[in-house]
Amino acid sequence: MRNNGHNAARDENFQAGHPSGEMNIASVSKAYGVGPLRQPVLEDCSFTIESGKLTVLIGPSGCGKTTLIDILAGYEKADSGIVTIDGQPVKGPGRDRLVVFQETALFPWMTTFENVIYGPMVRKEMSRKDLESRAISLLEKVGLVDFKDKYPTQLSGGMQRRAELIRAMINNPKVMIMDEPFRGLDAMTRELMQEYYVRLFEENRATNLFVTSEIEEAIFLADQLLVMSYRPAKIREVIEIELPRPREFHMLTSKEYLNYKKEALEILHEEAMKAFASGSNVAAVDFLEAYSERQAASGQEGRDSFD
């Protein structure tokens, strides 16, 4: 179950012609502040985002996930260590690594359709006609084709997230980076979004990095689960999730799922305890509380479904 087992079925599922990159992160460190104020956020962080896989990164709130993403995307420079994509070092933001942000980043002054096509349009890589038909087919896939001429403010939260998802997808990035994209959505919309997202992934099999602090979401989506430690953050554990694809919601009650969850929760709990012991972090207390509640609740659930 752990890291070692390589998924042989991966290459068979992989659609030909799709650019899919592999990102390698080698001993990346990052600190903010200088002198006595120096706060190490990332320390010796190493992992691989494997080609054509959905890698999920999970860690306690405030552990430096967003910093890591900023480095992967190229917005920030690491203090030390190296990030490569298909062997090439990452120098700055580029469209081979598209980020879907925590908060909505659709341009409010463009319609949904304009938002989706504008990136490829200014790069002039496709003919206008191809681009438009591709945009329409993607919009159809996420049920937004009737809303293509609406402005983002006229869409619901879930619709905005879907629009953003395909705005990134239409660019065929080598790696899609999702920074807690479903945070702030209500539970039902969130579930729907996970469903949309996992379907889109299973159709394309592009390389995806999905960052979250929700354990259910993480296991439901992931091929490979990276569990981060608390600050200074590094990769604490790599768990290969071998639930079958396509993923269905009924798997959330399966025995394997619960085993994965238990494993991940134990590590996360330990990290949360560390954060708690370090004392000053209010977010860590919230985190611990939330997880203990959820653990109790899920234990209940587990019993119910096995009885």
Binding site: A73, Y75, G92, P93, G94, R95, R97, L98, V99, F101, E103, A105, F107, P108, W109, M110, T111, Y118, G119, V122, R123, K141, V142, G143, D146, Y151, P152, T153, Q154, R167, N171, E191, L192, E195, Y196, R199, P246, E248, F249
Partner: protein, 292 residues
């Protein structure tokens, strides 16, 4: 959940079919059905009644010298006005036109220079570091303090007045445009860079539209201060214009004309603000959440 969720049913599109004329009509109907217009009229009547009572009827000390609404209205609507200014005298319109034209020239100039300057200051931090201290020092200087320099600088009164009006409008426009650019969330720039926008795309598709709401707030303020400095300028050095009319009528003891000119200024100021808001709403359709 089933995979069928992905194919959703066509939602009914109700709001897309209304024509713009129909929309205006519908809005007007709604407006008349609401208490708003009636409250407005009541408020206005109350104001005029108080004015009438204070000046003409009760002749309260300190108010008794002021022209009352009846006298003003009579003069304003008279075919043969006692003091020579009413809606039937061509001079009245010459004053209005002169003032309006001056403001228009100053406002257009201020907008054409102020908006690009503000955008550029917001976009290029180095440029802002050069220019912002100067802007912040010049901006608080009251327009009246510029009067002597303006007269020294420009030949003739006309240009001096336009210059004063322009200055006031220019600072308001520039500052608000700058704030507008700075108000744009960093995430849009990040998204743009991610998507491979070139600098000119970032400028025209992120900076400009993102700053637009602030720019239009700035333009409304700029229009307000433009009228303010215009009247000040015309009082000091005018030959025509509403500010001149006010001051001249004061000297000639034609008090009702002062009030006529003041009310006229009020209406024109209101109309010019409304015009800017209208243009703004046309350019920023994306700000409108609901059609009705």
């Amino acid at each position: 959940m089933q995979p069928g969720v992905i194919k959703r049913n066509k939602p009914e599109m109700v709001d897309a079919q209304i024509s713009s004329v129909g929309l205006v009509f519908y809005r007007t109907k709604l407006w008349f059905a609401s208490p708003k217009p009636y409250l407005m009229v009541t408020g206005l009547l109350f104001f005029v009644a108080t004015w009438y009572l204070l000046t003409e009827y009760l002749k309260v000390p300190r108010f008794e010298k002021l022209p009352g609404p009846a006298i003003v209205l009579k003069e304003w609507l008279s075919r043969d006005p006692i003091y020579g200014t009413s809606i039937y005298t061509p001079e009245y319109y010459v004053h209005i036109w002169k003032s309006f034209f001056r403001v228009l020239q100053a406002f257009v100039l201020a907008t054409c220079l102020g908006v690009p300057l503000g955008l550029f200051m917001g976009w290029k931090k180095t440029f802002k570091d050069y220019t912002f201290p100067i802007l912040e020092t010049l901006r608080p200087i009251p327009m009246l303090a510029w009067v002597p320099l303006a007269i020294l600088m420009w030949p003739g009164r006309e240009l001096a007045i336009i210059y004063l009006t322009f200055l006031a409008a220019f600072f308001a426009t520039t500052l608000n445009t700058l704030l507008g650019v700075e108000s744009i969330d960093e995430v849009y720039f990040r998204a743009a860079r991610c998507l491979g926008f070139k600098p000119r795309h970032i400028f025209f598709r992120v900076v400009v539209p993102g700053a637009l709401p602030f720019i239009f707030t700035g333009l409304q303020i700029s229009m307000g201060v433009a009228w303010f400095s215009l009247v000040a300028g015309e009082m000091l050095a005018g030959e025509y214009g509403l500010g001149y009319l006010i001051w001249n009528s004061f000297i000639l003891v034609q008090y009702p004309v002062i009030v006529i000119a003041m009310i006229t200024l009020g209406f024109i100021g209101w109309a010019s603000s409304a015009a800017i808001r209208f243009v703004g709403s046309l350019l920023m359709k994306w700000k409108v959440r609901e059609v009705v």
